[in-house]
Symmetry: C2
Subunit: 237 residues, 2 copies
Amino acid sequence: MYKYRQIYSDIKKNILTNHYRAGALLPTQEFFSKKYDVSRITLKKALELLEKEGLIFSKQGSGTYVRKQIGDPSDELLPLDLPIGTTHTHRDQEIKSKILHFSARLPNEEEQINLSINSNEPVYEYKRVRIINNKIYSFEHTIMPVSIVALDEKVLSSSVYDYLGREVQLQLTDARRVIFAEKANKEISNALKIEENDPVLTIEQVAYDQNGHAFEFSKSSFQYNKTKFVLDIHLKK
Amino acid sequence: MYKYRQIYSDIKKNILTNHYRAGALLPTQEFFSKKYDVSRITLKKALELLEKEGLIFSKQGSGTYVRKQIGDPSDELLPLDLPIGTTHTHRDQEIKSKILHFSARLPNEEEQINLSINSNEPVYEYKRVRIINNKIYSFEHTIMPVSIVALDEKVLSSSVYDYLGREVQLQLTDARRVIFAEKANKEISNALKIEENDPVLTIEQVAYDQNGHAFEFSKSSFQYNKTKFVLDIHLKK
DNA sequence: TAGTGGTCTAGACCACCTG
DNA sequence: AGGTGGTCTAGACCACTAC
């Protein structure tokens, strides 16, 4: 693969294995570019990836430092900037789905706007309870234009994203998420096996593919206190 | 300022004013680098900023496209990747604080870990109700090492971040946030003027300065359904 | 003042998409 | 096959930090 990716991986490995310790000053960019036998620009690109990921930070005139580790990505915390409820976030865990509803219909106004479609373009609507390691994880309500791909209940019982990748080479590359707390209504409380009016965390998502087209509008609700999301932010430019 | 920033601003302006329309193909990188009289690398850096911000996306071999706009950053939605409750997010709005508690003490174990300090380093503890445009916005519980800067109630009544920037040249550049829903306890429900056990959205934050040091550990709670946060994610590398 | 990271260049070649 | 964006280079100068 590309040089800058290899360098990125190598330095990352050295940070994660504490070869470069937390808080320590890293070697200079000149040192690294000689070590890996690349130009300083290419090396910088590798460092930029690490900085974006929050593992290091650079100070002009001073040097590049390893960020003090902010605790490992614990199992309890789910990354808010990755796809939800997939093999990305639940490696080696058993993910099942219980399908509560599956149909097709014309979209309402909210759905037309979010998916950038006309009122005469039919959409699938489905509702699932996601179950991870035999524990209830989330209630998911999804709208997807029929024009994207043909769906059936068998597909819904596994990963829809994997199916989209295989069948129509469609990848989730961008998404807008709206996050809020609300009271569980009857449908949500039944699905999550909690009391009505108990708090839930809800994430509304519009997902976009590699061509910039919206292909999914969904709402996922999670039991209060059970599921926590984590997000690292980096404001420096 | 820097060329790539100027180019970034210029293209951004042209996108936001619909000079380059949503979904449209942008001019080639070569065209832009001639137009602005810079090298292609410098131009690319400007485009990278726009891509990171989610305004455009590039496809190798095809071109650079304006992303279909995902709705303006409505007043109702607060960005989850910016400082919370500041002039950043509440431009031209009146922000007030009601101080419920202010003291100093030694840190407990959770605070020691999150702030990377020893058990003998004192911390400030304060609790505030944040009020925006005379409406209750959030309940904030903050821990800050005394070693950072001297605080008093007067400082707490306005923006602590502004004060930190002025007094000790300290900027918030990174943060880890944990987001979850919970039931309001007595303290939170009193502060937010809601019923006990009503849902709230809570954001726990560890804030880091430009030197990679944690300087604040806080929990902010928001009324359910009133406050919604938005986050755009970009997975492409 | 010395050393570090940040910006910028002109030009080459590669990888990928579209006709 | 032609055109696009992606990677990469060697070298120069600037901005900032630390001493």
